[in-house]
Amino acid sequence: MESVLFRKKRKKWNARNWTVFIVATLGLVYILVFHYVPMVGLLLGFKDADYSPNLLETLLFGDWVGFSHFRAFLQDVNFWNVMENTLIVNLILLLLNFPAPIIFALILNEVKHMTFKKGIHVVTTFPHFISWAIYGGIIIALTDQTTGIMNPILELFGLSSAENPVYLMGADYIWAVIIISSILKSVGWGSIVYMAAIAAIDVELYEAAEMDGITRWQKAIYITLPSIASTVTVFLLLNIGRLLSNSFEQFNSLQNSVNLTRSEVLATYIYNLSFSARRFGYATAIGFFNSCISLILLIVSNFISKKTTGEGLF
């Protein structure tokens, strides 16, 4: 009796099953090779892999060093300096760069001339498509002490002088440069998703509110903003998950030897440790730590969000 039931449950695979199985499994094989196999490589963080000439041999047969790399970086002043840079820059970005596209979308939503609206959007979205290599070059050009345009502008406000020009790419101002350039590059593109969410709001909501004599400001705050709250939550969660991550190319493009003390973040620090200093084990340990913290941040913030607002990524 039981075996009959069992057989009934297990339907035989037909050609369609096989086709989709093979295609999906090809994707799975790709993911296993290029995403899960490297995770095995994280074991380098527990091996004596620094300065190793043959990483594969070290990974397979090298000496285990336990958590000593982790202990080492947790006691390293450099690491904490980098951690501080990463956290402060990302927190400021979360405070300014994250709401900027939302505010931008709300403002753009108030524009009544469609051509003007579209024109503004076309112009402000374009920087998203410029690479960081190029955008970094543009910023370096604009902030140059002798040929750039930023110093003459600052002079107008009495913040700089021709004799003693401010070096904006120096350690003192690099955070401001990073944050302003991030906003300029991403605000137009980032606002698209919010504009789509605003466009999906039921017009009747506004009409009903207009009958009650609601002002424009109230409309934006009490109708538009709550209506796009779920989109905002999703992006907030993703941003919190990225508190320790930065675009390597952004920071690599803006870094120079003068501002390094302030512009070195985990992404670039791990690169420099592994490819300049060849401290593979140490760098992998920091990368592993970074990935774990990011995952925990994401899961915790997702959990809190689900409990409080009912919205979450998964």
Binding site: L26, G27, F129, I134, G137, I149, I270, G287
Partner: protein, 296 residues
């Protein structure tokens, strides 16, 4: 008649309040700042290097010249890098789009068993990765290090794009699938003849994303290649030009070109493909993002 049309016209005109003017001025200023950044490099690239070095540019080129572009056009390394970036972008788009779309089709197909297992194995990689050293080791071991294919094969599948495409596939009427199934078409035939033609909007959007990513990236060149004949990419080469230029004052050049103004010409040439495609991207990205924002 004339009065009637006048009245209609008046009705259509939007009323502007003080708040509107503030908004319009703010947005115009913002767009102006954004545009100016690019304008500065454009006029810099048409400027005489010596004159530029003595005080930069403001609104128009200083000592208008094509000399910087001539240097770039004669730079064979630049064109090697340009070729590699074009090849990489074209190949990368075709390979990633086809493979990702095929997996997306399988993932939405009712005949796939254990879909959730696939799903979670895929999703996890969006939030956790091995990092650069393990990836470097893997590419070394499988022989992709410093090969042109290092740009194509490790990025031939994207979980995020797969989710976007499968979301779109789910919106395609199921009756179309059933009809094709009744006709006896195989799964791959249904995918290629029913699903692919119907999903042109999302495929256009995703391929533009992939193209921009390939064209703009230089991290791969830095980490996983020696930047040789077939692996030097345009962005990496530009990065080098910019680095060299920012270290020079420009006075060491006797000619009318300097490292700075030449690097600006390089930047503009590298931006031309993006500028050419931008109107098409414009048309598609809003649609694509809206598809993406419908979580599934």
């Amino acid at each position: 008649m004339a009065e009637l049309s006048k009245a209609l016209y008046k009705k259509k005109r939007v009323r502007m309040y003080v708040a509107d003017y503030i908004i319009y001025i703010f947005l115009s200023l913002f767009a102006l700042i954004t545009f100016y950044q690019l304008w500065y490099v454009i006029i810099g690239s048409f400027s005489n290097g010596q004159q530029y070095a003595s005080g930069g540019v403001f609104l128009w080129p200083e000592g208008f010249t094509f000399a910087n572009y001539e240097v770039i056009f004669r730079d064979t390394t630049f064109w090697t890098a340009f070729r590699n970036s074009v090849l990489r972008t074209a190949t990368g788009v075709v390979v990633e789009l086809l493979f990702t779309a095929a997996v997306a089709y399988a993932m939405t197909n009712k005949y796939l068993r254990c879909r959730n297992a696939y799903y979670w194995i895929f999703i996890f990689t969006m939030f956790f990765s091995g990092g650069i050293v393990p990836m470097y080791l893997l590419l070394r071991v499988i022989g992709l290090y410093d090969s042109f294919w290092v740009y194509i094969i490790p990025s031939m599948f994207s979980v995020y794009n797969m989710l976007i495409i499968s979301n779109f596939y789910r919106g395609i009427p199921y009756s179309l699938y059933e009809a094709a199934e009744l006709d006896g078409a195989g799964e791959l035939t249904i995918w290629a003849t029913v699903y692919m033609p119907l999903s042109k909007p999302v495929l256009a959007t995703v391929s533009l994303w992939i193209a921009v990513e390939h064209w703009n990236s230089y991290m791969g060149t830095m980490l996983y290649t020696e930047a040789g004949e077939w692996t030097l990419t345009l962005q990496y080469y530009l990065k080098q030009l910019i680095n060299e230029a920012s270290g020079s004052s420009g006075t060491e050049y006797a000619d009318e070109v300097t490292a700075k103004t030449v690097s600006y010409a390089g930047i503009i040439v590298a931006l031309i493909p993006i500028m050419c495609f931008y109107p098409f991207i414009q048309k598609h990205f809003t649609k694509g993002i809206m598809i993406g924002s419908l979580k599934g």
